[in-house]
C-alpha cells in the first residue's frame, strides 16, 4: 500500500521510510537533553564560601543583648570562636528572630547556638528554650558608646544576614529576593554587603534612619546592587549603617 509508505498512523507500525528519521530524532532529543543538562549545570556560579559551622561546635557566650535595630549580642565573656568585645548578630531558626528575645533587651544574657560564617560576617543561630537564651546573673556592664564614623555613600547589596552568612547558598541575588524579604520581615538582621570594604568591614548591619529596623520601602531594593547614603557608626567591632531610604538607587 503506497499511501502508507511515508504516512504515519500512530496505532500501526511506523512506515519503513520514516523509521530512520524518527530514530535520529529520538537520539537527537536524548543527546540534546544530556548536553543541555551538562551545559546548564556547568553555568551555575560558585556561591561565596559560607555556611553553618557545625564543625566549630556549640558556642556559648555571655553578653549584653540589644534589639535595635536587630538582635545583636555584645560579648563580655566569649567562647572559643567568639571572643569578648565582639558584637555578634543573632537569628533564630528558620526566617525568625531568636525566640523569647523581646523581654531581654539591654540585659546581660547567656546565649548558645551555632555559628554561620562568611568572611568577617558571623551570625549566631539560637535555638528555642532557656538553655539557648536566658538572662544571666548580674547587671549589664557599661559598654563603650557607639563611635560615629560620618555620613557615607556605599554601593552594594541589601541581604538578610542569615542567608548571606551561608544559611542558603547562594543567599543573595534576585532569585533569593523574596526569601531575603521574608527573613528581614521576620526579624533576622538585615546586612549591607558593601562592594568595597569600609573601615575594614564588608558586611554592615543595617538600620533605618532613626536606628530602628529597615523601613518597608527599602524592601523594594533588596537583592540587587544599589547605592545608598547613611550614617555609619561602630558598635564594638560591628559597623551599623543607618540608611536614608530616600537615597536608595538601583545601580
Amino acid at each position: 500500500m503506497r499511501a502508507r509508505d511515508e504516512f504515519f498512523i500512530g496505532f500501526f507500525p511506523i512506515p519503513p521510510g520514516l523509521r530512520p528519521f524518527l530514530a535520529a530524532i529520538a537520539a537527537a532529543l536524548i543527546l540534546l537533553f544530556a548536553v543541555a543538562g551538562w551545559f546548564a549545570a556547568s553555568t551555575q556560579a560558585a556561591p561565596d564560601e559560607a555556611g553553618f559551622r557545625f564543625d566549630f561546635g556549640r558556642q556559648e557566650v555571655t553578653g549584653v543583648l540589644s534589639l535595635h535595630p536587630y538582635p545583636v549580642i555584645r560579648v563580655t565573656e566569649g567562647s572559643e570562636r567568639l571572643a569578648a568585645g565582639r558584637t555578634v548578630m543573632l537569628s533564630g531558626g528558620g526566617k525568625f528572630a531568636p525566640p523569647q528575645v523581646a523581654a531581654l533587651d539591654r540585659r546581660l544574657v547567656k546565649a548558645g547556638g551555632v555559628i554561620l560564617r562568611r568572611g568577617d560576617l558571623d551570625m549566631l543561630q539560637i535555638g528555642g528554650g532557656e538553655r539557648n537564651l536566658s538572662a544571666a546573673e548580674g547587671d549589664a556592664p557599661a559598654l563603650s558608646p557607639p563611635e560615629r564614623l560620618g555620613r557615607w555613600r556605599l554601593e552594594g547589596e541589601i541581604c538578610d544576614g542569615k542567608c548571606a552568612a551561608g544559611a542558603m547558598r547562594p543567599g543573595r541575588g534576585l532569585s533569593h529576593k523574596a526569601c531575603a524579604n521574608l527573613c528581614i520581615t521576620g526579624g533576622v538582621p538585615a546586612v549591607f554587603v558593601s562592594a568595597a570594604p569600609i573601615e575594614g568591614a564588608t558586611f554592615l548591619l543595617m538600620a533605618g534612619p532613626e536606628g530602628g529596623p529597615l523601613p518597608p520601602e527599602a524592601l523594594a531594593f533588596t537583592a540587587a546592587y544599589v547605592s545608598v547614603e547613611g550614617e555609619i557608626e561602630r558598635i564594638g567591632d560591628l559597623l551599623v549603617f543607618r540608611i536614608d531610604p530616600a537615597t536608595l538607587r538601583a545601580l
Partner: protein, 120 residues
C-alpha cells in the same frame, strides 16, 4: 497582606466549588453528555483536577449539551487565526523581554565608599 489572604481564600473557594461540581458531574453528568463515557468509570477520577480548575466552563458546557443547543458546525471550525496571533505574540514579547532583561542586568559594582560628611 490582606490582599494576599483574600486571594488565597478566593482560590480555596474556587477549588471547593469545583469539588462540589465534580460530584454530580462525574457520577451522572459525564455519562449523560458523552456517549463514549457511558459505562466507563475507571477514567473518571482522572477528570477531577480538570473540573476543580475549570468548573464554570464544565457547568456551561453541561448546560449546553443537556439543552441540546450544541452547534455541530462549530465543532469543525478550529480557532485558526489564533496561530497567527500566538506567533506574533511570541515574536514581539520574547525579544522585548530579552532586551529588557539585558537592559536591567547589573555588573557587580566597583564604586569605593564615599565619605560625604565627617563625624561631628
Amino acid at each position: 497582606m490582606q490582599t494576599a489572604a483574600l486571594l488565597i481564600d478566593l482560590a480555596r473557594l474556587w477549588l471547593w466549588a469545583g469539588a462540589v461540581v465534580s460530584v454530580p458531574f462525574l457520577l451522572w453528568g459525564v455519562g449523560r453528555v458523552e456517549p463514549n463515557a457511558r459505562g466507563a468509570w475507571i477514567f473518571r477520577p482522572l477528570l477531577i483536577p480538570g473540573v476543580l480548575l475549570i468548573w464554570p466552563l464544565v457547568l456551561w458546557r453541561w448546560l449546553v449539551l443537556e439543552t441540546g443547543r450544541d452547534d455541530w458546525a462549530k465543532r469543525h471550525l478550529p480557532p485558526r487565526r489564533a496561530h497567527g496571533f500566538a506567533a506574533l505574540l511570541l515574536a514581539v514579547l520574547i525579544p522585548l523581554t530579552i532586551l529588557a532583561g539585558l537592559a536591567i542586568r547589573q555588573a557587580p559594582p566597583s564604586g569605593a565608599p564615599v565619605l560625604l560628611a565627617a563625624p561631628e
